[in-house]
Every structure is written in C-alpha cells, then in structure tokens.
C-alpha cells in the first residue's frame, strides 16, 4: 500500500511494459527449462546407457584407481569424472546408475500408480463399506514411515532390483488411492456421470470411460512428483546395503562404496549425490509446474 506519487497525468505515470501478474513459485512463464533439460539428459542417459558410456560399468582398471575428475591436477581426460577404488569409471557408473534408478522409479511409479488409481476409483465411486475399508487400509500403509515399511518388506522378501520396485510400490500406492478417491467423489456427482448412469451404462464402464480420464491430470502430476520420492527411497535402501545389489549399479550404492574414502576421494561421494539431488529437484520442479498449469485453482 502506498500513497502514490504526484504525477501530472495518471496514465502517463504508468510503466510502458506490462506487468506479468503475480509471481508463481518455481515457475517462469513457460516450461522450466533447466528442470526439463536435466530430466531429458537423465532419461537419455538411462535409455542410451550402454551406447554412450565411455566404459563398461564394471570394467576394472586398477592402474588408474582413485583418480580425481579431469579438471583436478591429478585427473586424466580418460576418466572425466574420476574413478573409484577399483578403477571403475565414475561417469560410466553414473550413467549405468541412471538406468537402474530411473527404471526402478518409473516402474514403481507406474505400478504403484496403477494399483492406487484402481483402488481409488473403485472406492470413490462405489463408496460405502468398500470405500471405508480401502481408506483404512491405505491409512495403515501411510501410517508407517515409508522407509520403515520398505525395510520391513525387504527383510522378508530380500533385496535386488525386482524386490526394490515392489517395496517402493508398497509405499506409494496409498497416495494415489487417496488422491483419486477424493477426486472421484467430486466427479461422480457431476452431470455427465449422472446422465450415463441413468442411461444404464454399467458401472465398470462408467468408471473406466468417464471417471478415470478425469483423474488423469492430478495422477500425472503426482506420478512425476513420485519419481523423485522413488529415487530417494531406492538410493536410501541401496545406500544401506539392502537395495540394489552389485553387480548392478545404483547412485545410492556408489555413495556407500565411496564412503570408505570419504576424506580423500571427495568426488566419489559428492558426484552421485549431486546427480540424485539434480534428478529429484528436476522432476519435482516439472511436477509442480505441471500442477500449476493444470489446476485452475492454483497460482495467482
């Protein structure tokens, strides 16, 4: 609030350029470039992995062990980001890790999302006892801190790529279920649904063709945000030694390996961490941007 300034004519006092309106968090007027670029790079690395990495992920080169990144005094151009204690190229392992971590995150998100959405749609649409039961069950899953739940499942089923996906699914499906369920409750009273019901369309078809597509917006947003969570969960488990197992590579596993050389080979612990942070932040930024774009109520 200001008392303004004394100017000769009001209109001439205004700045020429238009104001862009209120500022939204983490969002420029268009696509968040840095985030999208980072995601693209990571996905490319994951997909093209074996073809673009300079070395195989486990090619051992003891002569060049514990070499710092290329821009350091002792670094070599042959290993851009340095090597670990077995002489394995860090860059190649990061790329291989991208493949595993992103694949696990994507698979878990898709699987968990599918299960959660299915539960949510049915629970929201049918209501009543089924709804109450479904919600109590998902509450129970959500009640346990997710790392704890993950560890409990790992304890029973063991670790490894497949089990890790399962573990992440166990922790993420309730979020989709709750989100979709509350959306469905809002949607099912809308006119087009009522019309379909009156017309005699069977409930399964209503759910599939009318209700489900309307939830896809928020589900997609949640999914993108979930990828970040999945990456963190997977790398945490791998770091603890109960996630991805060698010879597979995961960023978390690299951090655990590099930990023994913590004071000496900084790049072994810093670089995988930076990649994790960059990945999570990028997906999150993308997710929030999408959310602001798709939700008419959000934003200024």
């Amino acid at each position: 609030m200001n008392a303004g300034t004394v100017t000769p004519a009001a209109e001439q006092a205004l700045p020429r350029r238009r104001r862009l309106g209120r500022w939204r968090p983490l969002q420029s007027p268009g696509l968040p470039l840095l985030a999208t670029a980072t995601c693209a790079v990571l996905v490319a690395a994951a997909v093209l992995g074996p073809w673009i990495s300079p070395y195989a992920k486990d090619s051992v080169d003891l002569a060049n062990a514990i070499a710092p990144p290329a821009w350091q005094p002792d670094g070599t151009a042959a290993h851009l980001l340095g090597t670990d204690q077995l002489g394995r190229d860090v860059l190649s392992r990061l790329i291989a890790g991208a493949r595993i971590s992103l694949a696990a995150a994507a698979a878990a998100t898709l699987l968990g999302g599918s299960i959660g959405v299915a539960v949510g749609v049915v629970a929201g649409y049918i209501g009543g006892l089924a709804d109450a039961v479904a919600m109590r069950i998902s509450d129970a899953f959500l009640a346990v801190p997710f790392i704890l739940l993950a560890l409990a499942v790992v304890a029973v089923l063991g670790s490894g790529f497949g089990n890790i996906i399962l573990v992440i699914v166990v922790t993420n499906w309730p979020r989709y279920a709750r989100l979709v369920r509350s959306e469905v409750i809002g949607i099912k009273h809308r006119d087009f649904v009522t019309l379909a019901r009156i017309a005699g369309v069977p409930p399964a078809r209503i759910m599939l063709r009318h209700i489900l597509p309307n939830t896809l917006n928020s589900v997609t947003v949640l999914g993108i945000l979930d990828v970040g969570r999945a990456i963190i969960l997977e790398s945490s488990l791998s770091f603890l030694g109960v996630g991805i197992q060698p010879p597979d590579v995961s960023w978390g596993l690299m951090l655990a390996d590099g930990r023994t050389l913590l004071g000496f080979a900084w790049w072994l612990t810093t670089l995988p961490g930076v990649v994790i942070v960059a990945a999570v932040m990028s997906f999150n930024t993308l997710g929030y941007w999408l959310k602001a774009r798709l939700d008419p109520r959000a934003g200024a």
Binding site: M1, N2, A3, G4, T5, V6, T7, P8, A9, A10, E11, A13, L14, P15, R18, R19, L20, G21
Partner: protein, 320 residues
Amino acid sequence: MTPLVDLRQVSVTFGTSQGPILAVSAVDLAIRPGEIVGIAGESGSGKTTLCRAIMGALPDEARLSGEIWFAGTRISGRPVAEIRRLWGREIAMVLQNPMTALDPLYPIGSQIDEMIGVRFGAAALPGRALEILRSVHLTAPELRLRQYPHQLSGGMRQRVLIGMASATRAKLLLADEPTTALDATIQEEILVLFREIRDRSGTAIVIVTHDLGVIRRVCERVIVMYGGRVVEDGPTEAVFTAPRHPYTRALLESLPRIEGEEIVLQAIDGQVPDPSELGDFCPFSPRCRLAREACLAKFPGETRVTGAHRVFCWAAEQPP
C-alpha cells in the same frame, strides 16, 4: 472552515497485465469535520477505491495523481509508514465483512483491550472495553467480552468493530458497505450507531454503499459516482427529491417501488462501463437518454445548482 479531507484532482490508476485501468478520475472533493457523507455508486464506480485513497490504503499496483489533504496536511506522496501513523488515531475504518474482520483465536475483550492499550496506553484499560460495548448497545456486554468472534452474529460483530473504530477518537470514520452483509432488520440499528457517534464526538463519517436506502437513512450529503467520476454531489434531501444528473435520476427510478398493486422494477439500459475504456468523456453517455456530442468529447465541468449542490452534466443547465 478548513475541510477535514480535501481531494484535488485525484485520479487512481491500476497497472494490470491487460493495461492501465482508470478507477477514479479527476475527483475534487472536500469533506467537512462532523459531516456524514454517503458515497453512492454501483460496483466498479470507483467508490471503494476513492475510500481507500482517502485512507492511504491503496494497493501497490495503484498509481495516484492529484493531491489528498487531511486536516490541513498533505498526505498524498508521503511514505506508507507515515500515513499508517494516522490509522487508528486520526482516521478509522470499518470494513464490509464483519464475519472475517476479527481474529478468530482471541476473545472479543482481549482484542478491544489490545487496541485500547496501543492507542491510549495501559492506564486507560480498566472498564474501557465494557464501555465501548455498551456504547454500541450490544446485549450482555460482560458476556461478550469473554466470547470468541465465532460465537457472535454478524450484526453483533459489526457493532464491536464500529465500537472499536469510534473508540479511537478518530476525526474521520470511513465505512465501506457497513451493512451490506447484514440482515435488513439489523441494518437500521447499525446505521443509528453512526449518527450517535457523530453526535457524541463530532467525527466525520463517510459511508460508501450501493444502497440508496442507507444513504437516505443516515447521510446528510450524498456523492454519486459513476465510472470513476463524481457526477453529482449535494444534500441528500435535495439530490433525492430533485436529482440533476441523468444517472442519479435513473438510479432513483430503478429503486423497486410499489405503485398501487404493482411492484415496479425499472432497470437502466446498457451496462456498467469497462474500466479499461474510460477517458476524458462522460462515462454514462452510452446509456444516457440526454446524451449529445459534447458528452463524448469531454467530461462535463461543474455546474452549481445551489451552494452545496453541484452536478457534472452537459444537460444540467436545463432542469428536468
């Protein structure tokens, strides 16, 4: 007599992403101490913006031109912090929505006490809150002190707010649609309070409203606004019985009235102007029966009907 509030060629423009919007245009206005003035207009007429301008409470996007004087000192162009010192001391305001104007987490009494303490110091506290509630004729005042806002009705809350505003001993009390959110039966009682406050402490009161009934009930003077301009300004009685501006006339005619056995509803043709399309012409001309070329070319100058009654209309020279 020095006017309490003096506006000289005041315009307020808002900068938006769609371009500048003129909310108030070239308003000259003077309010005397102890006057009860009503500012009448539809939404979009600029009356609320004018009220905020007088207070110095315009949002950041607003640009003000012209001068605003209060109690002999110029307040336009002053930094926010200086103007805010006037709030609660020289100028007080009552807002439109009493339901959300009190902090829901504190009892009424503590909120009144807080204001008194800040304004007059802790020594003034004992019993003051109770006095204030009594002065606005609130039932069971001792109980109200301990109650929370959500336990009071809208009308009761508005009384509390009016009481607090008048307790500041401000010279000017601005009320923005004070009775709009209240039941019709309560409105009368609230309006009576304003008279009492003026009679008791000589506070000038400005009531901004779209409800002409409110103005007729309590205001001695009415200022009619349209499209950001003052179009007519004079004693309530005179303006309501013999309106000189076509808009005022149309407004009065559109009040629902009962003629014989029929309820007559007469609307004004056309629509309220788009604020981004205003300029130096009469904003009412597109809808005016008496419109002529001059109206679209330039905004009319002031015509004095009597000493206290002025109108801005090219057709005003000829009485209806």
